[in-house]
């Protein structure tokens, strides 16, 4: 039986309302496998590739290069099996006729992050999906819940998924009391309490990985599984120059070399990404918070915390990018966990290899 699939403009992050088609990576008539990159799209915040969520032959490139289209708009038609041109015309025509109305209503009532006083401080978090054992996503040093923009919606297809801004980050309160891992893990625990979650899967990136490991050390009964992406706490080495450079950077020229080290694909470091990071760094209290946390993570090129001992206590997945310039991918070896190193990917693994990370996380969490 043949299936006609419509590929639509994705929504990457809260503020994305439209994207500009940059270039087609696949041509009409080409066979596409699920997960293949089909075209490049640029938003005011980020540029990335749209991956096919299904397999089939690319039969129709509906969107043209340089065209700016709303989230949810039709980009392409893929056919798995047989279909004649008239059938494809009909699908396109029906989609375009129905699309305009749904776009407006979706914008108006889309899910939004929440903020509340949790454990004595303002925290922001964003919930998507429902059911199952919840999954909590914990970003890294200098990040925020938008670091999961390519992952959060996909992961939420199967369960409740919560991404938060750690204290000192995003739109959570910036003041830290001690500025150590215990304070950050404590804030995640306080959020679990606030949301009446007794047990959750935890996924952490970089410093967020150490926050999850440390939470598992403090409250093992609350943790169903650990997914650690390019995580702090699994070895000695860390790029101290990156941490220093990132903390000290006060303008675009200072920040760019630091941010560039995060990605294997330099195209991801956009003007807007740098501008957004500067806006974060200018907020009152952020500079002090980042200095405290940088000092808590590392002493020069050496990490302060070895949390490998925590791993044996619950199912753990370790993910890394082979080109990580912040924490070496060799830390994925020698831990008592399922470990996958993705080739050609830098430190921001979940952004650079979103489709693969989503698949690996989904499969792992489903098992535990």
């Amino acid at each position: 039986m043949s299936q006609i699939h419509t590929l639509t403009m994705p929504k990457w992050g809260l503020s994305m309302t439209e994207g500009r088609v940059d270039a087609w990576l696949k041509q009409e008539g080409e066979q596409i496998n699920k997960g293949d990159e089909v075209l490049d799209v640029e938003t005011d915040k980020i540029s990335s590739s749209v991956e096919a969520p299904f397999s089939g032959v690319l039969r129709r490139q509906v969107a043209q290069p340089d065209e700016t289209l709303a989230v949810g708009a039709l980009l392409a038609v893929l056919v798995d099996g047989e279909a004649d041109e008239a059938e494809i015309d009909a699908v396109v025509e029906r989609f375009q006729a129905e699309f305009v109305a749904s776009a407006a209503s979706e914008q108006a009532q889309g899910p939004a992050p929440q903020k509340a006083e949790v454990g004595g401080r303002l925290l922001r978090w964003f919930e998507l999906g429902e059911g199952g054992t919840p999954l909590v996503l914990v970003h890294g040093f200098g990040g925020d819940l938008n670091n999961w923009l390519f992952n959060h919606p996909a992961l939420a297809a199967e369960r409740r998924v919560i991404a938060l801004d750690l204290p000192g980050h995003g739109e959570s309160a910036k003041t830290l009391e001690h500025g150590d891992l215990d304070e950050l893990s404590g804030a995640v625990l306080a959020l679990l309490d606030h949301l009446d979650i007794t047990r959750a899967h935890l996924a952490g990136h970089s410093m967020g990985g150490a926050v999850c490991l440390n939470l598992a050390r403090l409250a093992p009964q609350r943790v169903a599984s650990l997914s650690l992406i390019a995580s702090v706490g699994l070895g000695r080495e860390i790029n101290g120059d990156y941490l220093r450079g990132f903390v000290e950077a006060a303008n675009r020229n200072g920040l760019k070399p630091a941010m560039s080290q995060l990605f294997a694909d330099q195209g991801m470091v956009t003007r807007q990404m740098l501008e957004d990071m500067l806006k974060f760094k200018r907020l009152e209290g952020v500079d002090a918070a980042l200095r405290l946390l940088a000092a808590a993570i590392a002493d020069g090129d050496q990490q302060r915390h070895d949390l490998r001992g925590v791993i044996a206590q619950q199912p753990t997945l370790v993910l890394w990018g082979s080109e990580d310039a912040i924490i070496p991918a060799s830390h994925a070896q020698g831990v008592e966990a399922e470990a996958v190193v993705l080739p050609g990917v830098g430190h921001m693994v979940q952004m650079e290899a979103a489709e693969q990370i989503n698949q690996l996380l989904q499969d792992f969490v489903r098992k535990h």
């Binding site: 809260l14 503020s15 910036k174 303008n251 501008e275 806006k279 200018r282 009152e284």
Partner: protein, 340 residues
């Protein structure tokens, strides 16, 4: 998603948050509350366009209506600044500068220098600038160059709500006199502004668009026209880099030179009159320090050397627009092509 507020609300919020944080901050100016001598109408005005509205009741005794005498209340603010307070005085229209110029030019701007660094003058003078409101020649001028010419002053001209809040907080905390120029046509512009306090540093231009073919340097309301022109030109295959100066003193020379060294071409867009202006100053800077990088002549898009006309039709012709900017860019591109 960050909340959106207007340029005017962003300025009001910066004032309120700084007054809450620092009890030495106060506001003085004409009609900043209700209008002097108008009992029972204490928050009737909140400034001639309502920018300070609502602050009078939040900060009793700290929003002061002044008599119609710029030399008097601006002088009082300068004096208060030398004595440990942080006044934010409002010069309703920058066109009234002449009425208080000595207080700024010969007093505030000179104290730190003449007292060997022992005196500071943490004064902010907020003032409305620019044409387009059909307000005629005495209420429409773009006098940024006048202030920029004077050593000892810092001069700010924000182009967005985000910059307006961050630059005003920076201005209030700065220990030197700052002339804070608010473009009257931007007051209703909406933009994302964090609720938290933050500062935007002085002397750091904002790259609003990266491009390889030509650099557009501008500030204030002209930023939006330059962006409009850049977007139109992009469709014709011309890739513009757009720099918003944010502050004209200090001037981010490094960013200007760095950008022109990359693109080899420059158009400066300035709403002010052209003689002895930011446009001529930046053109001279680039001609002097990046001449070898230039692939074509420098162009300037400015108002003409005339007062701002009252006639609608003439005022529209007077103010630079996107079409004039596009024409200037094309002229530079054509000239450099024929030279190559």
């Amino acid at each position: 998603m960050a909340r959106k507020i207007s340029y005017q609300q962003a300025i009001n919020e910066a004032l309120a948050q700084e007054m809450r944080r620092d009890s030495t901050v106060f506001i003085i100016g004409e009609d900043v509350a209700g209008g002097a001598g108008a009992p029972g109408e204490q928050d009737a005005w909140g400034g001639v366009l309502g920018v300070t509205k609502g602050l009078y009741h939040q900060f009793p005794g700290r929003v002061l209506d002044a008599p119609l005498s710029e030399i008097g209340y601006v002088g009082a603010a300068v004096g208060a600044a030398t004595q440990g307070l942080r006044p934010v005085c409002e010069l309703m229209f920058v066109d009234f500068a002449g009425c208080c110029l000595d207080q700024i030019l010969n007093q505030a701007a000179k104290f730190r220098y003449m007292f060997g660094g022992k005196a500071v003058t943490p004064l902010v003078m907020r003032t409305m600038v620019g044409a387009g409101l059909r307000a005629a020649a005495q209420h429409s001028q773009m006098l940024t160059s006048l202030w920029t010419h004077i050593p000892g002053l810092k001069v700010v001209c924000p182009s967005s709500p985000y910059d307006a809040k961050g630059l005003l907080i920076q201005a209030i905390r700065d220990n030197d006199p700052v002339i804070f120029c608010e473009h009257k046509l931007l007051y209703s512009m909406q933009g994302e502004v964090p609720e938290e306090l933050y500062t935007v540093p002085f002397g750091e231009a904002n790259y609003l668009r990266d491009g390889d073919d030509i650099t557009l340097v501008t500030y204030g309301r002209m930023v939006h026209l330059a962006m409009e022109a850049a977007n139109n030109l992009a469709r014709q295959g011309i890739d513009c880099e757009v720099l918003d100066l944010r502050t004209t003193s200090p001037l981010d020379e490094d960013s200007i030179l760095e950008s022109v060294e990359k693109t080899g071409r420059l158009v400066v867009i300035d709403e002010a009159n052209p003689r002895c202006s930011l446009a001529t100053d930046i053109s001279a800077l680039v001609a002097q320090k990046a001449f070898a990088a230039l692939k074509g002549p420098i162009e300037m898009v400015t108002a003409p050397h005339t007062p701002v006309p009252f006639s609608d039709a003439l005022e529209d012709l007077y103010i630079p627009d996107a079409a004039k900017i596009e024409a200037a860019v094309r002229k530079v591109m054509d000239a450099s092509r024929s030279a190559a």
